[in-house]
Amino acid sequence: MIHTYQIITAFMGSLGFSILFNIKGRKIGYAAFGGMLAWVIYLLGGLWLSGEMMQYFISSIIVTFYSEICARIEKTPATTFLTAAIIPLVPGRALYYTMSYAINGRFGDFAEYGSHTVSIAVAIAAGIMVASSLSRVFFAVRSYEFRHHSM
């Protein structure tokens, strides 16, 4: 049940950020759906992947591809969709606990949670990097083919 709530609220969270980032019209829908997609993939990943980092990694790869495709459909920068859609993956909770342990002087827990937060951030960054690089190659190849056909 918590997962259903999470999927719905991931949608609403990304929807909210799309409005704050002043995304207009149909693009809001794409961005908010992207946020939901991010969390669905994360949860599905949990079924057969071992390790939370892999879940974040795969999920951010798919969301980045999704944003690149939406960007081509809507002819607008991919950042528009990616920024709003990646929000549910942002490690807010891990960051909070890291900080709270630091404040309370529980340095063992702090080190554990701190490295956890950093590793999530790295996994997301790596996912975006991999997917962006791949889609660059993919779209470059496609436009190259396109030019040669049209000539």
Binding site: I2, Y5, Q6, T9, A10, M12, G13, L15, G16, F17, I19, L20, F21, N22, I23, K24, K27, K75, T76, P77, T79, T80, L82, T83, I86, I87, P88, V90, G92, R93, L95, Y96, Y97, T98, M99, S100, A102, I103, N104, A121, A125, I128, M129, S132, S133, R136
Partner: protein
């Protein structure tokens, strides 16, 4: 023909793109494409998060150089979309400087969502993430209310000083204090869920995604600048919460 006036408008486009949330690569690319479209012999653009420098060599042999210092960012993807389309149009049709000036005026007056919507959205985001991380209905109500107060706080604090770190420290302090008080009174149940919902509003998500995208496109300097800014913002959020725990005598659970 590239004139000083025209180059200044082209830089306006680049500046506004960067401010609205474009990656450095897009800004540099747009500026150099436009300049090339106007028959510049050579274009050198250098952009980092806080500055744009453009130097162009004309066919006549003269050189024009202009720079812009960027002090303030405000994410607006609708504006970015319009600027992007405008820059494609300029590349294809190379219109007069007058036309670009008029278009830029139109872009400058794009509509943003009204204040009521903004307040509601702050509440909605904070409430959503409180449920997302497992809060109950009381927590959601408290969190949404604090989210709206947070928007109010941001508006006021930004009038005093626009420094990002200052704003974030004070905002997270406000969130922490309110959350603590409301939980102490007994309206809210778990302080951590309420705090996390509101932290999501402060977290520098855009800076993080753009910094990674900058690094991939080869703009390592700009990417690292943005990344360190994101880390500093995250730290200042923690300082704000640290301040709360000083006031309430330790133990924020």
């Amino acid at each position: 023909m590239l004139t000083k006036e025209l180059l200044s408008y082209i830089l306006d486009i680049g500046e506004q793109m960067l401010v609205s949330g474009a990656e450095v690569n897009r800004v540099e690319d747009s500026i150099s494409r436009i300049c090339k479209a106007y028959d510049a012999k050579r274009v050198d653009v250098f952009t980092i998060t806080s500055s744009i420098v453009v130097s162009i060599q004309l066919k006549s042999g003269n050189t024009l150089t202009q720079t812009r210092r960027i002090l303030k960012y405000s994410t607006d993807f609708d504006k970015l979309d319009r600027l992007n389309n405008l820059s494609y149009y300029i590349c294809a049709h190379t219109p007069e400087a007058e036309y670009i000036r008029n278009e830029m005026e139109k872009v400058g007056t794009t509509r943003i969502y009204g204040p009521v919507v903004q307040y509601l959205v702050y509440g909605m985001i904070a409430g959503s993430f409180t449920i997302f991380y497992g809060g109950d209905l009381n927590d959601v109500a408290v969190s949404a209310a604090i989210g709206m107060i947070l928007k109010l706080a941001i508006t006021f604090i930004q009038r005093v000083d626009k420094n990002v770190f200052f704003v974030n420290i004070l905002c997270s302090f406000v969130v922490g204090m309110l959350g603590f008080l409301l939980v102490r009174i007994g309206i809210g149940h778990s302080f951590d869920k309420i705090a996390i919902g509101n932290i999501m509003l402060l977290i520098p998500g855009l800076a993080l995604t753009n910094s990674i995208r900058d690094i991939i496109s080869g703009d390592t300097i700009a990417g690292l600048l943005r990344l360190s800014e994101a880390i500093l913002v995250a730290l200042s959020i923690s300082f704000g919460f640290g301040l709360v725990s000083v006031f309430v005598g330790g133990m924020l659970k």
